[in-house]
Subunit: 331 residues, 2 copies
DNA sequence: ATTCCTCAAGTAATCGATTACATCATCCGC
DNA sequence: GCGGATGATGTAATCGATTACTTGAGGAAT
């Protein structure tokens, strides 16, 4: 197990093993650069002392942090959890630690995060930051899910336009001729892309289309439920910009006495874990969050390792429609 | 805005301002220890150069990391998200960065995490780690939600026994006389405490009680639904060890053609965000996750600041029952 | 036997900040 | 006008690793 004395330095290990600190350092980093006898003496000394490298000292000398930072617009959004998990898994395999931060902690702090040398690279889940800040970081950045063309960084996303088209086609094939889209925040690139996709797909299909404002949250879905209920001509198919919004809409609409999917078919977006277990279970666009996280992390790690992979193309991962109970044939 | 030249060191700033590095350092850390004229010269130089402190160098010299680490048994568990958010918020306010890691990355790595000086303290959400490792970290640790008496660390939790008692009393008052508990993982302290609480509360009330195995997940709830349905004498009240489990149970039981709460009342545990929006909405024990995170972070920060707050007592936060639609009077 | 090369190991510079200590000017009271 | 306190600033040691460079031993080739 090793005695755990307070502060063991590399020089203590070296002294115990009767070698120089250089040899200890080499033994730890490149065991094959050291003779067998020495190596074993050092390894024994490390075991006995319970020596642990001091990360700050190593980071300072090597000018790297062995750490990546995840920036997300809202840590409590459950949509992100499995992305975090996937990123962490990849990072851990590459011996990198993971930091997380909410991206709404203020310009000053955000700018600092990318410049104080605590992170080697950044996974960015927020397309709404000032490009000047993002490009001011002198670090490799990879965007996930959201993207912003003004950022000088590759992205891993699904094709949101095509995805929303799948949803529209699905409803149209079920016979729906009047569709409603509950959109996301007005300034969010995902929300905009999905809305535009909705408009062009409905236009192409020649069905009636309308839009109501939302912000991805459960609450916004519930609020729109009342607006929908108050309409004279209620759209029979609703496509939401997020699953949470869809669940909010459905639950509220049912509380108002309507039946889903009898009276209104609802499609979500993301396929969060509960979509499948909701009642009625939710037809939605499946976004492979684990894969997005994994690919993003791998991409970032590649950029860290291989400095010259500077120009990484945007990567597109596949999304598909999952048909469940919340949508049915129009009456 | 400041020109962002590659690597500005403190000596560059000092040179530009015509002062020593000591003065620059003091200006940044203790502006009031420096004369007004100097201070302004230095601040101007900092602005012009866009200087950012090198964290590794400072950490090395000060022997601290300005960072805390959150360890959770499963990052993709949505239960943790709002705890992360709360911890991050407190940490950010105290100028600390936040690292996260899954606690299942292997003994070796976990032990290292607490010893390489990258974190000043640890927020632990997993009571299942080897006490030798936890106590081997030479860092302040605070346990959240789960706790392990073998750890030499304070904890912030709800009173799980009392909480489960609330659930039992609720069902008993509604006239239920045969209760089932779907427990959590056999070796989990929360699961054990809740199960024992269930047994003693049902015993005290003199109602029939039985237990089925689960593991907190949606899937386990769904699986138990089949076992329940196959019984001759079906318990009319079910208390689950987690909300996810409860939602899994309810959705599956409904798919099997039963009605909730008509034929079976179900109580969850945690009050995750979707509990309120599920259909039927879920009666559950509300666990104030944001507050747990906040209190835990504050406690840890206090331990970091005030070295002699070594003996912090376990803190208990209040949990209560939220009555919704998934429970009703027994027939 | 001499030269040259290879390889293991040690010496000491280095990363970039903080801060103990030294220095010097100023100002106080007596 | 002088000893001493006070406070601003500079000098240089320090944190604990990595690594460029140096040294010296051993082996191969001639």
């Amino acid at each position: 197990m090793g005695v755990m004395n307070s502060k063991i330095r590399i020089s203590d290990v070296a002294a115990l093993a009767g070698v120089s600190t250089a040899t200890v350092s080499r033994t730890l980093a490149n065991p094959d650069k050291v003779g067998k006898a020495m190596r074993e003496k050092v390894q024994e000394a490390v075991r006995v002392t319970g020596y642990q490298i001091n990360a700050a000292a190593r980071d300072l000398r090597q000018r790297r942090a062995r750490s990546i930072l995840i920036l997300a617009p809202n840590l409590s959004n459950t949509f992100f959890s499995s992305i975090f998990a996937a990123v962490q898994e990849e990072a851990s395999a590459a011996d990198l630690t993971v930091q997380i931060s909410d991206s709404n902690i203020g310009r000053e702090k955000i700018a600092t995060l990318g410049q104080d040398g605590r992170a080697d690279g950044i996974i960015l889940l927020d397309g709404g930051l000032d490009p000047e800040i993002v490009n001011g970081w002198r670090l490799p950045v990879v965007q996930l899910c959201e993207w912003n063309d003004a950022y000088d960084a590759p992205s891993v996303c699904i094709d949101n336009t095509a995805a929303v088209e799948l949803a529209v086609d699905h409803l149209v094939q079920l016979g729906h001729r009047d569709l409603l889209h509950i959109e996301g925040p007005k300034d969010n690139i995902l929300a905009i892309t999905r809305r535009d996709g909705f408009l062009s797909a409905t236009n192409a299909s020649g069905v009636k289309a309308s839009i109501m404002a939302g912000d991805f949250t459960i609450q916004s879905g519930a609020k729109v439920a009342h607006l929908w209920a108050a309409l004279d001509q209620r759209p029979t198919g609703v496509i939401c910009a997020s699953d949470e919004c869809a669940l909010g809409f459905i639950s509220e609409v049912m509380r108002l006495g309507f039946d889903v999917p009898e009276q209104v078919s609802v499609v979500g977006f993301d396929d969060i874990e509960f979509a499948d277990r909701f009642n009625p279970s939710l037809t939605t666009i499946h976004q492979p969050r684990g894969e997005i996280g994994r690919q993003g992390a791998q991409c970032l790690i590649a950029m860290l390792t291989n400095k010259d992979v500077a120009v990484v193309p945007p990567k597109e991962v596949h999304a598909h429609l999952v048909t469940r109970v919340s949508t049915s044939r129009a009456l």
